[in-house]
């Protein structure tokens, strides 16, 4: 087959067929359009302002590695004026996270960005290895998900950043749309396509790769020879997401625009106010100070269950009842250090240590 020339520059040999558009493009044009689309996503959503301190949630995997590289590139190319940090959470999974953290440490050198690693062990007193040893592989993803969310926010507060960006890509978001439809979780369906989420007390989080296809992220990492880690978590994966993922990949094989089409469908849903209102109002966890929809936040409930040997306390109604029936927690109960929100989140002043752009 004769080599095809790039549909953009008409000069070089095409090396990639874009799933989003079917366009055939060369290596240099691919780098340029991929980066420019992410830039446009950032600008259109107004994600950053000059002087923002931004943490990149870094796992060492393909998405966050490419995100760190592209954020650095765009920050320099377009003078965003951002101060970038790498923030990694060490869940304490031997043979998985310890290896991927080595990748993040290399990224720290390669990209010249400060790195903060916060571990479940130092924050909660439990590694995932210890949790799985205690509760088995069922429900362990619940613990990991709740603990990671809070750990990222706390790590971000320690770095005194204004904003966390994560490597969630278009495929991830399309999967989430499908999962929320299949579960009938309409309130989440309304929120899951937002590029940026910010509750009243939470640190702003956003997804600059919202419209970036997984195929292009992997191709970008390959052609740029980026250093990333790829191994599946050794504990049981999220089975439900796995099904949505397989379904989405099958759809994509038949019709490559399926991923972006599903995101657009998700964005087009207009969720009624009374449905949105089913979300409980947020309060402050009385034990650890993190935001919560109950008196105790989910992480504190899960931790108390672990400590008191009622592991499903935060997972099932029955476990919750059992915990309550056993009375108040002992004085000596291990708890999560109290969460002090960054000052900028409290009174609207800019974060500490930020110099005004000249």
């Amino acid at each position: 087959m004769a080599p095809r020339t790039c549909g953009l520059c008409s000069l070089a040999k095409a090396i990639l067929k874009r799933p989003k558009t079917g366009q055939q493009i060369c290596r240099e044009c691919f780098f340029y359009v991929f980066e420019t689309e992410v830039h446009n996503t950032i600008i259109e959503a107004g994600l950053f302002k000059q002087g923002d301190r931004v943490a990149i949630g870094a796992s060492g995997g393909k998405d966050s590695t490419v995100l760190a590289y592209v954020m650095k590139t765009l920050n320099e190319r377009y003078n965003y004026g951002l101060e970038l940090f790498l923030l990694s959470i060490d869940e304490g999974i031997t043979g998985y996270r310890d290896d991927s953290l080595e990748t993040v440490k290399r990224n720290q050198q390669q990209y010249n960005m400060p790195l903060k690693i916060l571990s479940y062990d130092e924050l909660y007193g439990w590694t995932m290895d210890a949790i799985v040893a205690k509760i088995g592989k069922k429900n362990n993803c619940t613990f990991c998900g709740v603990f990671r969310r809070q750990a990222l926010d706390r790590g971000a507060a320690m770095l005194q950043v204004d904003h966390i960006v994560t490597g969630h890509n278009a495929d991830d978001i399309a999967e989430t749309v499908l999962m929320n439809i299949m579960r009938g979780d309409i309130a989440r369906l309304g929120r899951c396509t937002s590029i940026c989420t910010q509750g009243e007390d939470t640190i702003k989080r956003s997804k600059p790769f919202k419209y970036a296809y997984e195929k292009e992220i992997v191709m970008y990492a390959y052609f740029k020879k980026l250093d990333y880690f790829s191994t599946e978590c050794i504990y049981s994966p999220d089975a439900y997401r796995g099904h949505a993922r397989t379904f989405l990949k099958d759809l994509e094989a038949a019709r490559p625009s399926a991923v972006i089409d599903i995101i657009h469908s998700g964005e087009a849903f207009d969720v009624k106010e009374e449905v949105k209102a089913t979300q409980k109002s947020q309060q402050i966890c009385k034990r650890c100070g993190y935001m919560s929809s109950n008196e105790l936040c989910k992480a504190c409930t899960l931790l108390e269950g672990l400590e008191r040997g009622i592991a499903n306390a935060g997972v099932t109604e029955r476990g919750m009842k059992r915990l309550e029936a056993e009375g108040p927690p002992p004085e000596s109960l291990r708890t999560i250090p109290f969460f002090n929100k960054p000052l900028s989140q409290l009174d609207g002043r800019p974060a500490l240590f930020v110099e005004a752009p000249s």
Partner: protein
């Protein structure tokens, strides 16, 4: 066999795919230049003709890898006669979708790369 009866290839695995292939990223491989139409990988039958054989293509290579090099978890590599959706294939550093996918006819010294996109980010 004379030299033209075989095709020598370099096959690489990335993105976690290598874990299914003895945790080895790069493999050197020699395969027959003509193969059965049904991608059978135990050699050509005695009554081979031009009609019941074809030049070795990517489809054949996928079957060859599955039958001879794959060590575990077939379902993560192979599905319905081809690679599982979500596995990217590069032929000499070009997206196989630009090269005819499974019907690309392999040449001596071609480099074929399989990258999984299915592993966590």
């Amino acid at each position: 066999m004379s030299k033209s009866d075989t095709v020598s290839l370099k096959v690489e695995f990335g993105g976690g795919m290598e874990l299914l292939f003895s945790n080895q990223r790069s493999h050197k491989l020699t395969i027959p230049a003509r193969v059965p139409l049904d991608n059978g990988t135990s050699g050509l039958p005695a009554d081979t003709t031009d009609e019941n054989s074809k030049p070795a293509d990517i489809s054949y290579l996928i079957h060859h890898l599955k039958d001879h090099l794959l060590k575990e978890r077939l379902e993560l590599f192979y599905e319905n006669g081809t690679v599982r959706p979500g596995i990217l294939v590069l032929i000499n550093d070009t997206d196989w979708e630009l090269e005819g996918e499974g019907s690309y006819i392999l040449k001596d010294r071609d480099e074929i790369i399989f990258i999984s996109t299915l592993h966590g980010g």
